[in-house]
């Protein structure tokens, strides 16, 4: 006699129990769903200090005195909105940065209208971003600021740093694709192919609709994103906190502005399909983007389980730039999880803050080499491609980070003064314990500028 495939009785009983539970849950959920749920996103107060066309520059002020000498400007991607950084009060990157004494500015790209369809990299980077940077520098009477990019915003920040290195004190890239010649991410497979006719898409559609992009993102994992997620919602529908967080996330995910057609075309054509950025072949506003001009300290954070921007797209950034002070922080999380998951919250912002403090903490006295202009006076134009405003090379490798929980930090100090001639020291630090794990010495193939 053959064995039964199922324990039928037990299984049927389990199905019945599951159905009974679900019915009870949904009937209790009516009370919760019918109440006034607290689902507001981006509730941290800010002031809009500068506007240009559809762009707003939001200023978030820390409660006390800023702990960094230079304010931090965050440039979000043009896909979805920057509200993700302030999704809910207890998991807010913005709140955490403010709590750590960072004077914070964020560019809100707004909702592009059909008239914005011809805006490309040049308009966004040399136009809006540059004007925002100028505004902040003029307001604070400084020549430089700290710049942080998120995803596509990171790519734009890197381009900006290469074109205007004199404006950037420290550069922070988070989940930022730089090397597009990889097939480990589905977007690289779908959009990186020449058969993806981005020119026709943009010519016909103008701005690329947020819905089109959302469909692409949902198709990356249909089983989880279109089905399992909502089963999970039904199973937890009686938990008020869960429902509120779920609705907040839904609000953010489907708040998808259209992307200006021209910049989408350039991003896909030049980056995804031709991989010009890392090969220093990209031109923006008639100027070649040479990553060797990126000489300021660089922090590069990315998710090891990121399916949108896979690690392979981020790992070569440090080697491609001209900076002698680069830190790679891969975190065991995904593309959105890096900003919103509770585990990542313990790593992400603390790592950023400690890294910034090491390089930009407010000193008792203004250190030599930090120039301050009277606030409101315009900066003088500097020749591009200089040392990026850094007056002295960093003589020692940064101290190990002790705040991060599960991140691995790779710090590369390419400096002839601190390393044997022609070598590059790579310090891998396990930040969970705060102890230095390994130190490798390898031939330095990049030229040191400092």
């Amino acid at each position: 006699m053959s064995k039964p495939l199922f324990p039928v009785d037990e299984l049927m009983e389990s199905v019945l129990q599951y159905t009974r539970d679900m019915t009870a849950r949904t009937s209790r959920a009516r009370d919760i769903l019918g109440e006034n749920l607290e689902t507001a996103i981006a509730s941290t107060p800010y002031e809009v200090e500068y506007t240009e066309d559809r762009i707003k520059l939001k200023h978030y002020k820390p409660a006390g005195k800023p702990k960094c000498q230079h304010p931090l400007l965050i440039v979000y991607a043009l896909i979805n909105r920057e509200t993700m950084l302030d999704l809910q009060p207890d998991r807010s990157v913005v709140n955490n940065l403010l709590a750590n004494g960072i004077d914070l500015y964020i560019i809100d790209w707004g909702y592009p209208a059909p008239k914005d369809r011809f805006q490309g990299f040049d308009d966004h980077i040399n136009g809006y971003m540059h004007n925002a940077v100028e505004y902040i520098c003029n307001k604070h009477g400084i020549d430089q600021l700290n710049l942080m990019g998120v995803c596509m915003g990171g790519t734009m920040s890197l381009i900006y740093a290469a074109l205007h290195p004199e404006k950037i004190k420290n550069l922070l890239l988070t989940v930022t694709p730089v090397d597009f010649a990889t097939d480990t991410g589905l977007l690289h497979v779908w959009w990186g192919s020449r058969n993806f006719e981005v020119d026709r898409l943009v010519d016909l559609q103008g701005n690329v609709s947020g819905d089109f992009l959302n469909i692409n993102f949902l198709l990356m994992n249909p089983a989880r994103l279109m089905l399992d997620k909502y089963i999970g919602f039904l199973e937890n529908v009686e938990k008020r906190d869960f429902v509120e967080n779920f609705v907040r996330m839904e609000k953010w995910i489907f708040d998808s502005p259209d992307v200006p057609g021209e910049i989408f075309r350039e991003f896909i054509r030049y980056c995804y399909q031709e991989n010009r950025l890392i090969e220093n072949r990209l031109e923006v506003g008639g100027q070649r983007v040479d990553l060797k001009n990126v000489t300021m300290p660089l922090l590069n954070m990315y998710g090891l389980f990121d399916h949108l921007v896979p690690p392979a797209a981020c790992e070569k950034t440090a080697a491609a730039v001209g900076s002698t002070d680069t830190t790679d922080v891969p975190i065991k999380t995904g593309h959105i999880g890096i900003y919103v998951s509770s585990k990542s919250q313990q790593v992400f912002v603390p790592t950023i803050c400690s890294w910034l403090m090491e390089r930009d903490a407010v000193a008792e006295k203004t250190p030599p080499g930090t120039r301050r202009r009277p606030a409101g006076t315009p900066a003088k134009t500097r020749t591009r491609g200089t040392t990026g405003g850094r007056t002295a090379a960093k003589k020692e490798a940064p101290t190990p980070l002790k705040t991060a929980a599960k991140a691995t930090v790779k710090t590369a100090a390419k400096n002839a003064a601190s390393s044997p001639a022609g070598t590059e020291t790579v310090t891998k630090t396990a930040t969970e314990t705060g102890t230095t794990a390994t130190t490798e010495t390898k031939p330095n193939v990049t030229s040191t500028t400092n």
Binding site: Y18, N221, T381
Partner: protein, 318 residues
């Protein structure tokens, strides 16, 4: 002996003809009287022979009246009015005949398409689901598509051609979208097969799952894996690009049709608006660039040259 239906119909037709002639005659008589009266009012009681030479209105009225009288006479005396209903009937019959022929041809083509599709479907026993759309496409190409590709004639040929091409492209897009959806269904099917295998393996090892939720978790994880494999496969990428291309083809053609229809209305078309956007974008860019350069130049000027009332940064966009 009772009259046959045909005879009755003929008699009713004749009666209708007479009625039509009478109505037309009264119509012409009425308007002849109106023009005559107009002429009398314009030229005075002297009537036709009394108009003052050289004045425009009487002259016009008189020539109008004479023209109308000529038409009236020729219509009422030559028997044209009597034969007019008959001619109209004939013309209508011809039009109906032509329409009927076209409809019949169209019907035959649709029939051929469907028959071809069902024949091919019946032959394709190995993978009916997968082949269904391709079979329909082959049958469509042999039948209906020819209709859309036929040369268009006459005044509206340009518009007919555009509409036909859009309709053709819509069918091709629908087929591609269908193929895409079918491909997206594949993991659902393959997951069920894999689930059966896993359940059998568990049964063999006496390691049953006892909770329905566990079965769901197993199913969703297999489904996720199958989708992951499918979504990076060359077949998926080809189908995805194909459906996008077809959609773009269809959009281009349907937008052209919409633009054609908008031409007669006082509404700006998308193409016209895009030209304005482009121009606006270029001008704005130039303006911003010039403003910045001007501001930089002003900064270089000594204070006296700039003048006491010169604003510090008048050109920065805020």
């Amino acid at each position: 002996m009772p009259e046959t239906t045909d005879t009755t119909r003929k008699r009713e037709g004749r009666r209708e003809d007479t009625l039509f002639s009478e109505m037309t005659k009264s119509y012409f008589d009425f308007w002849q009287a109106v023009t005559k009266e107009t002429l009398r009012c314009t030229c005075g009681d002297g009537g036709l022979g009394d108009y003052r030479a050289g004045t425009l209105r009487p002259l016009t009225a008189r020539s109008l009246h004479e023209m109308f009288s000529a038409v009236h006479d020729s219509m009422t005396t030559s028997g044209i009015l009597d034969s007019l209903p008959h001619s109209m009937h004939k013309s209508m019959e011809m039009c109906m005949g032509l329409t009927e022929n076209w409809a019949q041809t169209l019907g035959e083509m649709v029939e051929e398409t469907l028959e071809g599709a069902s024949r091919s479907l019946a032959d394709n026993t190995e993978c009916p689901q997968d082949g269904a759309l391709r079979t329909f496409l082959a049958a469509y190409t042999r039948g209906m598509q020819k209709l859309f590709n036929m040369p268009k004639l006459g005044l509206n040929r340009y518009y007919q051609e555009r509409i036909s091409r859009a309709s053709d492209q819509f069918t091709l897009f629908s087929v591609a979208a269908g193929e895409f959806l079918l491909l997206m269904m594949q993991p659902l099917e393959s997951t069920l097969i894999k689930m059966q295998q896993r359940i059998r393996e568990m049964a063999d090892n006496d390691s049953h799952l006892r909770d329905a939720r566990d079965y769901y978790s197993l199913w969703i994880s297999i489904l996720e894996g199958d989708y992951a494999n499918l979504l990076k496969s060359p077949e998926y990428v080809r189908t995805f690009h194909d459906v996008l291309h077809k959609y773009l083809d269809y959009t281009a053609l349907s937008e052209a049709v919409v633009e054609d229809s908008l031409r007669s209305l006082p509404i700006t078309t998308k193409k016209e608006m895009e030209a304005v956007y482009r121009e606006n974008h270029e001008l704005k860019k130039q303006f911003k660039s010039i403003s910045k350069r001007l501001a930089a130049l002003e900064e270089r000027l000594p204070p006296a040259a700039a003048g006491p009332s010169a604003p510090v940064k008048p050109y920065l966009v805020s």
